[in-house]
Amino acid sequence: MKLLLVEDSVRLSGALTSDLCREGFAVDHAADGLTALRQLEAHEYDVMILDLMLPRIGGLEVLRALRASQAPTRVLVLSARDQIEDRVTALNLGADDYLVKPFDLSELKARTLALLRRRYGETSGVLSHGELTLDTNARLATVQGSPLPLSPKEYALLETLLRHRGKSFTRVALFEQLYDGLSDASDAVVAVIVSTLRTKLASAGVDALIETRRGFGYRVP
């Protein structure tokens, strides 16, 4: 779950990044439109949270460029502009949702998760595999109804693999999904997270959920 937060307010972006990272999102931040465009060219994001009044290149231009590139990234516009015409313009340009500042943090997260579900064509907030169930809204994993205590990164990794069942992810690909671009960690951390996740799943009675395919990476069959 890779997010791009495009917001020129240092304080607001700092607080949002901190909170979203704590929830297990990998959040990259761009303080202006030009940096946002560069990051969109370099990475594929699941959701972009986009301010409209940006230095250098405005938010609507960023949105236009993103839609022209046919990228599947969902866009949540987060703006202080509250006029109907602003919303209509942004939605007509390809924004998927619009939230006016100031906003409720829980509402922002709920809308982001809703966009994430739409990105992968899911109708409910539940991913399941056998006795394992993931509530993507509550960000809670359960086995036979009992909560499975996972760290945000473990949960994010499990959600990514379950969301793309059958698809193999290399260590680097998983690292990009779990960590932001400024992270000091190396992709070796993915192996550690997979290991601890496997242990927790096994202790809950879910064995051999995550396969290792030599040369291809990890997957949930």
Partner: protein, 364 residues
């Protein structure tokens, strides 16, 4: 004025209508009478003798024609008058209807000027000018309110999000950092509100009558002391060269508001490493002086200077993103300068140092 005009206009139209009606009726009457008389004279006086009864009938008929003519003239006059007045009042009716349709909830339309009498044209023109000015002012205020709402929403969103995100923090250091940032966001918001209130409340006539002696050095020192609490790192970059014992005649509250906005502008938009210099420039005659604030502004171009005092104008940086500032500071300074009857001058030298000079302070 309007009543006089209406009276004169109607009188003139009535006179014209009457003259026209009487003229036309008399002409028609004259033709009819001439023909009748000619016919009877021809018939009555061509014989060998004159029939008295026939002559009396002729006279009666002439009397009848004269009476009928008078009645016809009066009728025609009345008809012409009514039609003329109605036609003359039609443009006025249109203007009156257009005036009645003006509503506080609807966009104001200009009064129709087609067919409006020349006498009332200046009145309508003036009214339309007022409507145009009113529409411009309303649009200006609407845009200002939208801009202000927009600029206040961002710090409000910062405060709210910092509060919500910070509340979930468990570590004390992280929590303290969130609190510090929340306070900074609140101070920024307070600065916007106070600046706007200072401008809104500053009445030129009242301020000019209430000027009082104030020490420039003491005012600058007091401002720097307050700034050292909210922005200690930036405050250490400020150098003030104001002579001790310098007294001027001004408004201390507005002076402080201007100085605060000048310094905030320099801190937010200037080079974060460079000095911010405050100088007092004595006037040539000693009768007036100027306050000058200078700071390095590497992102600024000379083309930007005319826009610096525009409300909510934000420079698009050429280098790193400009992450702060609401585009209000120098607009506030410019507005307060007009209230205090000071001259605001902006200059950018070759070293890209922005100099803001407020001239015209009255020395004691």
């Amino acid at each position: 004025m309007f009543r006089d005009w209406a009276r004169h206009s109607l009188q003139r139209r009535l006179q014209v209508s009457l003259l026209l009606g009487v003229g036309l009726s008399l002409a028609a009457f004259q033709i009819v009478v001439d023909r009748l008389v000619d016919r009877y004279i021809e018939r009555s006086f061509t014989g060998p003798s004159v029939d008295l009864a026939q002559r009396d009938r002729l006279l009666r008929e002439v009397d009848f024609v004269l009476l009928g003519g008078v009645v016809t003239v009066l009728g025609v006059c009345a008809l012409v008058t009514v039609l003329s007045v109605r036609r003359g009042l039609k443009p006025l009716e249109r203007v009156a209807n257009a005036s009645q349709e003006i509503s506080v909830d609807q966009p104001v339309q200009a009064l129709p000027l087609n067919g409006v009498p020349a006498e009332i044209q200046p009145l309508c023109d003036r009214f339309n000018q007022l409507i145009e000015r009113l529409t411009t002012a309303l649009e200006h205020e609407r845009r200002f309110s939208a801009d202000l709402a927009h600029e206040l929403r961002t710090p409000l969103a910062e405060i709210r999000t910092l509060g919500e995100a910070g509340g979930a923090r468990q570590d004390v250091a992280g929590l303290q950092e969130f609190l510090r940032q929340t306070a900074a966001a609140a101070i920024g918001m307070q600065s916007v509100i106070e600046s706007l209130l200072a401008v809104a409340r500053a009445d030129r006539a009242a301020v000019q009558q209430a000027l009082e002696p104030m020490s420039v050095g003491a005012a600058v020192r007091a401002r720097l002391e307050r700034l050292s609490v909210t922005a200690p790192e930036d405050c250490s970059r400020i150098v003030a060269r104001v002579p001790q014992g310098l007294w001027i005649q001004s408004d201390p509250r507005l002076f402080d508001a201007m100085l605060l906005n000048l310094l905030t502008n320099a801190i937010q938009h200037g080079d974060p490493q460079a000095l911010i210099e405050i100088d007092w420039l004595p006037g040539g005659s000693g009768a007036s002086g100027a306050l000058q604030v200078r700071n390095a502004a590497p992102e600024l171009a000379r083309d930007d200077l005319p826009h610096l005092t525009d409300r909510f104008w934000r420079r698009i940086p050429r280098g790193e993103a400009d992450t702060s500032g609401l585009g209000l500071g120098l607009w506030v300074v410019g507005s307060l300068c007009r209230v205090l009857e000071l001259t605001l001058a902006l200059d950018l030298d070759e070293m890209r140092r922005l100099t803001v000079r407020l001239a015209g302070f009255r020395a004691l």
